[in-house]
Symmetry: C2
Amino acid sequence: MTYDLCAIGNALVDVIVQTDDAFLIQNNIVKGAMTLVDEARAAALYDKAGAVVEMASGGSAANTLAGFAFFGGKGAFQGKVGADETGRLFAHDLRAQGVHFTTAESPHLPTGRSLIFVTPDAQRSMNTSLGAAVAFGSEDVDAAVIQDAAITYLEGYLFDKPQAQDAFRQAAKLAHKAGRMLALTLSDSFCVLRHRAAFLDLVANEVDLLFSNEAEMKALYDTEDSQAALDKARAHTQIAVMTRGAKGVTVASGATTHTLPAHPVSSVVDTTGAGDLFAAGFLYGVTQGRTVTDSAYLGTLAASEIISHYGSRPQKK
Amino acid sequence: MTYDLCAIGNALVDVIVQTDDAFLIQNNIVKGAMTLVDEARAAALYDKAGAVVEMASGGSAANTLAGFAFFGGKGAFQGKVGADETGRLFAHDLRAQGVHFTTAESPHLPTGRSLIFVTPDAQRSMNTSLGAAVAFGSEDVDAAVIQDAAITYLEGYLFDKPQAQDAFRQAAKLAHKAGRMLALTLSDSFCVLRHRAAFLDLVANEVDLLFSNEAEMKALYDTEDSQAALDKARAHTQIAVMTRGAKGVTVASGATTHTLPAHPVSSVVDTTGAGDLFAAGFLYGVTQGRTVTDSAYLGTLAASEIISHYGSRPQKK
């Protein structure tokens, strides 16, 4: 097989601005959340924002793939950028890590951006304008790559777009027909609530490997009991992973439940990307034939690296 | 007066990539230096480079102005960007800090970029393609702003371009005719050596306030004795500042010499921008009517903030 992992997700560039709580309140920004905004709102917020601390490539599944490549895995990405400098930055960063990326650019829409306001308490409030990412559809699914990848990994955030849901179903069929595994991350509990039926259908019928945190798992199965939710996911999938922040991670695999503590870190700087990087480590373990416990350990290791510095992509030391 | 400080310099955006010494050697990159590269070399290095850690607005005088605005000073910038996203990022960041910036964009040239390779020893090797910045000339000098600014501050890096030298001489004349102060930073000892006669002429005839480090001061006066060089600068200017890294700063003002230690920092992360931010603090002090010693203290304070984190612009805590 040419690829260990094919990830399909939103192609986004993060624009990070330091601010204070007053700015969030004044501009009706939901603290700590990822809020989708249209181009007009994004432009208005950018105009009012303070100086940009940094711009860096982002996007949940793309972050996972960057981490996966950091471990040494061979990856491919499918997602849509615009024909602009921001898109070229995103593409450069993936290709610089040896990731295969050939999805056609949108000729009209700008590359998606996540305007991230960081407050002094290190919380991040994201305002994402999806731009070109929203245009990813069935015609962008690269069948040959999916058939040639051990695992295809889908980013739940794309469920907000009907044509992307179609693309996901198409990718799932392609992967299974070729005898490959299908993985999904639920991404966000609000996104799960918005599209619960579609998520449940995909999880029950197509997903082999499910990633989620507690809130997302509870949202998917409409229960306040995360263990009960995990047991339902256990019945639907081969492996269901539920990350629990500082409390570690619980993995349901067949009749077995594995619980691992979080990897200790001396100082938590920024928890953004912890879930993305957990998935990177876990998926790398699975593609290398490691046990579920070993894979989960690699996941906690990768998550601990990412929370010890700013930004959502791994850095060399 | 509308402005406390008008800075004229290269409009640049920093593109930061982590790498190792082998990459520097393989690609003939001079470690720790700022090397000017043409667009072709910049593009080739970018293609070979690893993933971008971050992009952020930069440029020496623009960094000084950002720091100056951080203290609360009212500033204006003159420098040339291209009609592209990178240029809009640069402009946004200055304007977000209340800095006046209206220099016309170059319709043809891309915004200048500094491709910065960071090695594990925290050294930064800069490869700067000036792009549109190179096109700044006399026609871009905004006389009304210079006449209405207490101090006009020139970035020595622009001496590599003959038309920018002309613009500098024009700006100096405008400032003095309006009874304002003229400041200059020597920027880089190699740049000083390349244009020694032109620098000396400007310092001897126009500069009221000179910023330099030891290497630059020695290069300007062609001596190995930095104190002897400072004494020559003392005869040429009202105030001559010589920063000495961890050893602090020496300021010659008339017959008086002030020596201050560096402000203590718990951990030096990245010394890039220390000189730029020293100038920010010092200039702020001068525009607020503080003594030379107080101004130098503000300079060491600003420099200590910038070396305690990555990047060359001040960050909120």
